[in-house]
Amino acid sequence: MNSRIAHIATNTFREAVRDRVLYNLIAFALLLSAAAILIGQISIDVERLVVVNLGLTAVSLFGVVIAIFIGIGLVSKEIEKRTLYTVLSRPVRRWEFIVGKFFGLAGTLVVNTFFMGIGVFGALLYVAHRFHASDALILVALYFIVLEFFIICSLSLLFSSFSTPMLSAVFAFSLFVIGSFADDLRGFAAISHGLTHWVATAVAYLVPNFSALNVISAVAHQQALSPQLILQNTLYAAFYTVMALSGAVLIFERRNLK
């Protein structure tokens, strides 16, 4: 990685840590511990399923909230506070700034997910007393969740490069919700006709397909995941992230920083 991008990414990560973003891990740990103890007492034979479902959903939601609320401020906050002036007056290209910011936030979310993943496995061990070979699938689910974060980070950055933080949050969260139902949208497009068919198809393929990245239920039920799906989702997330980041760079390259 270009050294300037690495320095910007490191500084973004340091900002998140010093702004106590990782404190969410405490809330997550408390939530999961309480759930594990409660579930251990009230459920019979489905403890694993409930803990995996609850744990992974919490990992996803906590991460999405962080990705959106930090992502939307990555550029706009720097413009508003004018911290960007002393960065861009150095030999830093605008695209390097955007990419560095992305990696900084993505790194924060990876670290966050790593610790939350340990929490999920800890809770699982507490209720099931031992690990099964199928528990390795949780790692795949966590990987898909991280891919989901990358897409949301890049989208937040894209919106942040031309809009206000409030509108960016609305756009990013709306896309997250719509994208979570992308499969249903594609189903609707398939059965509709005329103009509705074309509009629904266009929207269904334009919004990020988060439903393809959501394998929480399958993993909770110990259903196998094909290597093809892993490859497909990896390529899809990489493509979508690069596209959104390219959009952010294109807009930001032309923006006057008044």
């Binding site: 300037r4 320095h7 506070k81 007056s89 030999p91």
Partner: protein
């Protein structure tokens, strides 16, 4: 080679929400700053100083025109390794300490690690922040932040330093420190381009100044020339508050200031004035050619532009 060459640089913003209309922030600006000089960019608030600086820093894009900095196009990122910039009322990452911030900027400027460590310490000492280098910037006062800003602008040993209102918001001691620093930079052979609306600072520091008002260049020249002697007039200064009637008869314009009197009068009346003061046994302090101050020049340029604008409208 000129340090800065600005060629017909122009900026028009589109303002309004529904019906966008153009608002010209900078009329075509032509300006040259020579290598090694301290150049003052003067103008009242909203004159276009910061817009010009932002264009040169690549923060705002010009509508037309171009600029060359150290012989390269303003948009060339490589040129930025050789320039330093202090924005107006700077704000920095307040979760960092002064040491961390300077180290970060050193990294972005491409200063090698070993040299960076030495230079960061050197800069902290130079701006008097060595004792608080481990304190987060959110606990810094405005004056301390300005010092951090100056340190970051010269950290990478740039050839050309842009300072936007560097004395703004500083107490008298802080202003003196900044003045000393600018003079040191000149001694080190650096070119300093600074914008200000504090004319006394510009008069005492600058080799040349440019005056900008409402986005238009109103005048440019060496401070010595702009404050040049008023043709055929002298200033006589004497001790006391007494103004002899014989001085008034010579057509002198007298001003009492504390324990001295200043009188402006025609050059050919010099001997008569000395005789008049001797007769009254008044102690003469000085006789000098009368010079216009930079402030007088500045006000004249601004008033002239307002008059012209009034006539054209």
């Amino acid at each position: 080679m000129a340090a800065i060459e600005i060629l017909a640089l122009e900026k028009t913003y589109m303002v309004g929400f529904w019906r966008k209309r153009p608002k010209r922030a900078l009329h075509p600006l032509n300006l040259t700053v020579e290598d090694g000089e301290i150049f003052g960019f003067l103008g009242p608030n909203g004159a276009g100083k910061t817009t010009t600086l932002k264009i040169l820093m690549g923060l705002v894009f010009p509508t037309a025109g171009s600029a060359r900095i150290l012989g390269r196009d303003w948009s060339d990122p490589e040129v930025k390794a050789q320039i330093g910039f202090l924005p107006e009322q700077p704000y920095f990452y307040d979760y960092l300490t002064a040491h961390e911030l300077l180290d970060y900027y050193g990294q972005l400027s491409g200063v090698p690690a070993k040299e960076r460590k030495r230079r960061v310490e050197e800069m902290l000492s130079r701006v008097g922040l060595q004792d608080v280098k481990g304190v987060q910037l959110r606990k810094f006062s405005k004056g301390m932040l300005q010092r951090v800003g100056i340190a970051q602008s010269i950290l990478h040993d740039p050839k050309l330093v842009f300072l936007d209102e560097p004395m703004s918001g500083l107490d008298p001691l802080g202003r003196r420190d900044v003045r000393d620093l600018i003079e040191q930079l000149k001694q080190e052979g650096k070119t300093v381009f600074f914008s200000t609306h504090i004319l006394s600072d510009a008069e005492s520091l600058c080799d040349r100044v440019a005056i900008i008002h409402k986005g238009e260049l109103r005048g440019v020249g060496a401070v010595e020339d702009l404050t040049s002697a008023v043709q055929g007039k002298i200033e006589v200064i004497w001790q006391g508050t007494q103004i002899p009637s014989s001085m008034k008869a010579l057509g002198a314009e007298c001003y009492v200031s504390g324990e001295t009197v200043r009188a402006a009068l025609p050059e050919n009346q010099q001997d008569a004035a000395i005789d008049a003061l001797r007769r009254e046994r008044i102690r003469l302090i000085a006789i000098t050619p009368l010079r216009t101050s930079l402030e007088t020049y500045f006000v004249e340029k601004l008033q002239h532009s307002q008059t012209t604008a009034g006539k054209t409208s």
